[in-house]
């Protein structure tokens, strides 16, 4: 895995050289939310990170943090992209047109966290039933029962 780590560090460096808004932290790259499509497309087509492992989100009160993990299957490395959206306007571009596997995960995040993915073709609840009020993974969620 040593080699994998070096390749990963190289990718982080290349990414921050390619786009000047990228900030590399300790094992992840932080980008503004409006550049997510540009970044992931470059990683897929140029750097070989062609497998989307997972998307997840967490609630940080004034903002939502979104974490994307991409895998380079050939080099056996992964890269972590972090971005955040404001609580008042939780919107971000959908990756479901690049990776079909993002479809269900984005629907789940929309369902539980209430983040709207622009460009998603079928953005509706996936885990909870239609007509459920609120997004239960938010910190300020209160159940009616």
């Amino acid at each position: 895995m040593r080699m994998g780590k070096e390749i990963k560090m190289k990718t982080y460096d290349a990414l921050s050289k390619q786009f000047e808004y990228v900030k590399t932290g300790n094992g992840f790259a932080e980008i503004p939310s409006e550049n997510i499509l540009e970044c992931t497309e470059w990683l897929k087509n140029e750097a070989g990170y062609d497998y989307l492992e997972m998307i997840t989100a967490s609630d940080h009160n004034e903002k939502f943090l979104l974490v994307y993990t991409l895998i380079n299957v050939v080099d056996k490395t992964d890269i972590i992209i972090r971005t955040s959206v404001p609580r008042e306007k939780p919107e971000i571009d959908s990756l479901s047109n690049i990776w079909t596997g993002a479809d269900f995960q984005e629907r789940e995040i929309f369902d539980l966290m209430g983040i709207v993915f622009k460009g998603h073709k079928n953005l509706k609840r996936i885990v909870l039933w239609d007509g459920f009020e609120g997004h239960p993974q938010r910190k300020d969620f209160k159940d009616v029962i």
């Binding site: 885990v127 909870l128 039933w129 459920f132 239960p136 969620f141 159940d143 029962i145």
Partner: protein, 204 residues
């Protein structure tokens, strides 16, 4: 010193003679057929006397009910495995006449609710309960079925089956051991023992 008596061992001819005389005696005694004790004459009263046990209707029906509880195969989560263990040969609920797990609710009269119930699953459970024919009983098995258990505060979990359907016996535990489940079944049998013949009240 006494010499122990020798056992009598007949010769072959003697043995044949004894056998023959025994059969001859039996034939001599068995000339007439042995009569039936029962009086098969037409007198109705006599007949009834031999066929009637005095009891109350409640007792008889309750006895029949409690001795053949058939559970429906409908379980939602982990408590199921304790029920499976209970129904297998080690604990063996066949002793109570309830080893027949019915796949159809219409043939069953006991619903053992084992496990966490989510709101998404709740309509199906309610439908299964409504499909069961009267009389029917419900056992809530495990902490989740009693009150929602460790998932009580969850937005997705029903806090107890009694929000959905009427429950007769509550068995606590996470999961309850087979002995506890058997105790619960025994409690249900006691409850059935005190039933009155008015099941209509159950189905609103």
């Amino acid at each position: 010193m006494e010499i122990a008596e020798q056992p009598f061992i007949p010769s072959l001819n003697e043995a044949d003679f004894y056998e023959g005389s025994e059969i001859k005696n039996l034939r001599h005694d068995s000339q007439a057929v042995i009569p039936d004790d029962m009086d098969w004459s037409d007198e109705t009263v006599k007949e009834l006397n031999k066929n009637i046990i005095l009891t109350t209707l409640d007792d008889a029906i309750n006895w029949a009910h409690k001795a053949s509880l058939w559970p429906v195969t409908c379980f939602t989560a982990c408590c199921t495995f304790e029920f499976i263990a209970t129904s297998m040969s080690r604990f063996d609920i066949a002793r109570f006449g309830m080893e027949v797990l019915r796949p159809s609710p219409r043939q069953a009269d006991l619903l053992v609710c084992g496990g966490t119930l989510t709101w998404k699953m709740a309509p199906q459970i309610k439908r299964i309960y409504e499909q069961m024919a009267e009389p029917k009983w419900v056992i809530a098995m495990g902490a989740c079925a009693v009150s929602g258990g460790i998932f009580q505060d969850s937005y997705a979990v029903v806090p107890g089956y009694n929000h959905i359907i009427p429950v007769d016996v509550y068995i606590p535990g996470c999961p309850p051991r087979p002995e506890t489940l058997l105790y619960g079944l025994e409690t249900l049998r006691k409850k059935i023992d005190h039933d009155k013949c008015e099941w209509e009240k159950k189905s609103k």
